[in-house]
């Protein structure tokens, strides 16, 4: 009896000792992750502002967002952006990862060119891209595309919706693909080369080798990257804010951009919080759909 008591006492001490290592981080986790999640939920049920008193309004922020004629176009923009940019980025990344995994003379230069932009800040690189896509004839894109005959006359790149989105997608892939390249390079290096050799002997072409060997081997990284990129795509803000300033006529506004306008320009924080939960729901739905699609496509090649 006594012994067991001192034993549990010792155990208690040991556990408290272990918790102490976790506690400092846990403190910040609770303060800046757990509490904000609850707090954000609370704010979304209030008419919350900086100056006047906060009034409980029930679900009316959600209803207003749901019925907001400016919200759904913004959702549509972001969803289309995600549907186009996520698969493209992944394809480009896997392609580059294959190329970069072969040791070549000047390997570092190739890595700098294709990978390093992912580590650059948005303001720096986006202002350079904005300058390249300047609307006047001496703008770099206009000049060269005129010279090569792809376009005739100066294009106002951010003057029409479709073109502006094209530029945003192009620039986004250029910017973020490097991180995914690194992911796939690491994954590809783990595939035993004998697998390819025996497949080659069996007469499997490059496409078949990719489907039946590469894809299953990089599956876990692919999952990780899909989720990461979906979250990233739905967080799209900097590109729209800096390149097109949401224009023309608000048609390149994204969900986060809209949240920024409602919350921080118009200071309707309750509604902004409700928008953030809409975004969360949409991201969740999307991540699940993408994962199911990826799993299915891999299953079908395995089965």
């Amino acid at each position: 009896m006594r012994q067991s008591q001192s034993k549990s006492h010792r155990r208690f001490h040991r556990e408290v000792g272990s918790w102490l290592f976790l506690l400092p981080h846990l403190f910040f986790f609770v303060l800046f992750v757990a509490i904000p999640l609850v707090f954000g939920m609370v704010i979304s049920f209030f008419n919350w502002s900086l100056l006047s008193d906060n009034v409980f309004v029930g679900a009316s922020n959600y209803v207003r967002t749901w019925n907001d004629s400016r919200f759904w176009p913004v959702v549509q923009n972001t969803v289309i952006f995600a549907i186009v940019s996520v698969p493209l980025t992944i394809i480009v990344a896997i392609l580059f990862a294959h190329i970069l995994n072969k040791k070549r003379f000047g390997q570092l230069w190739l890595l700098i060119a294709f990978v390093s932009p992912a580590f650059f800040g948005s303001v720096g690189i986006l202002s350079s891209w904005k300058w390249i896509f300047a609307s006047f004839p001496s703008g770099l894109a206009n000049y060269y595309l005129n010279k090569t005959g792809f376009i005739n006359g100066a294009v106002s790149w951010f003057g029409s919706t479709g073109v502006a989105w094209g530029v945003i997608i192009l620039v986004t892939i250029w910017w973020i693909v490097g991180f995914s390249i690194l992911l796939y390079m690491g994954a590809l290096q783990r595939i035993p080369p004998e697998q390819y050799e025996s497949a080659k002997l069996d007469g499997a072409g490059p496409w078949k080798r990719f489907l039946y060997i590469t894809l299953p081997w990089i599956r876990s990284v692919l999952f990780f990257d899909v989720v990461r990129q979906v979250i990233l795509a739905f967080g799209l803000f900097d590109q729209a804010y800096i390149l097109s300033v949401g224009g023309p006529a608000g048609t390149t506004r994204t969900m986060v951009y809209y949240l920024y306008l409602v919350g921080f320009e118009r200071q309707d924080f309750g509604r902004a919080a409700s928008i953030s939960w809409f975004i969360f729901a949409i991201v969740l739905i999307f991540a699940v759909i993408q994962l199911v699609l990826v799993t299915k496509s891999i299953r079908s090649t395995e089965g």
Partner: protein, 292 residues
């Protein structure tokens, strides 16, 4: 005799193909990286020349540092030197604090046994999937409630609850051989001493990776500083650059200084990448894969 010639010929043509492919790749890489070259090139021209010049001059005929002089001269209460200093303070502070918090937490979650350990771990993993936008509004009011608007802490604190670092360190720490631990217990080594003398040297590569990524993340951070900073003396470099460009009115009228500022903000990231790319590659693939 003829057969060896044929083989040599085959070898030779293979080598030529390899060389050609490599050269083509270099050229394509130069094309891909052109926006950075163009940024640097424009920053060395006077704006009047840069805006009207055709054909585009990639290597400026009359290079000038005038733009760099402009951006470092304080104007309207905005100083890029001050902003750079702010960015460095916030980035270094974030990095050190993240490391100091994540390492012991990862140690507890990977090497120590206590009730609730796995629960905490799974909660930590689950929140990795939450988009950052959920936190903007509540963080804004928490920081405001703490009276920290327009402070360095406003930029450092909210990131410290992040769990990616804990997750990454845990991956590394699971690798520490159990025998090492047993030997240490027998020697009467305390948990704290084990952490300092065995675990930390073991995870040094991860410290470098997470340190670099935290530093760059903070250095590049845009939306949050944009929301929480209203006083120019606390502006970080990206915010100061955006405000600078707004002050020039039509952005192309100030394109020379803007590109100088852009290059100045990108250069540290480029240098970090060149020096540490090997560690970044290793750390990133480990963070995504875990052990297989």
């Amino acid at each position: 005799m003829t057969s060896t010639v044929a083989i040599n010929k085959k070898k030779l043509s293979k080598r030529i193909t390899a060389v050609v492919v490599t050269i083509l790749l270099w050229a394509f890489a130069a094309f891909w990286f052109a926006p950075i070259f163009w940024m640097l090139s424009t920053s060395l021209k006077s704006t009047a020349v840069a805006v009207i010049q055709t054909p585009p001059e990639w290597i400026p005929e009359n290079p000038t540092l005038e733009n760099y002089k402009i951006i470092f001269a304080p104007s309207g209460g905005l100083s890029l030197i001050r902003a750079t200093l702010n960015s460095v303070i916030v980035a270094v502070g974030s990095t050190l604090a993240t490391l100091a918090l994540s390492i012991p937490a990862a140690y507890a979650l990977s090497r120590l046994r206590f009730r609730g350990r796995m629960l905490v771990f799974w909660i930590y993993v689950a929140v990795l999937a939450f988009p950052g936008v959920l936190f903007l509004v509540p963080h804004f009011f928490i920081i405001q409630g703490m009276g920290l608007t327009n402070s360095y802490l406003a930029l450092i604190l909210p990131g410290l609850g992040g769990t990616f670092g804990v997750f990454l360190f845990r991956q590394y720490m699971l690798d520490i051989p159990g025998e090492l631990e047993d030997a240490a217990w027998i020697d009467g080594c305390s948990k704290f001493r084990f952490l300092i003398s065995i675990v930390i040297p073991y995870v040094k590569p991860a410290m470098l990776v997470l340190g670099l990524m935290t530093f760059l993340g903070s250095w590049n951070s845009f939306l949050w500083p944009l929301l929480i900073l209203s006083k120019s003396d606390k502006f970080t470099l990206p915010i100061a650059l955006i405000r600078f460009s707004a002050g020039w009115g039509d952005p192309y009228r100030g394109i020379g200084p803007m590109m100088a500022g852009a290059f100045f903000s990108v250069a540290p990231s480029l240098i970090i990448f060149v020096v540490f790319h090997r560690y970044l590659m290793k750390g990133i693939s480990l963070g995504s894969l875990g052990k297989e």
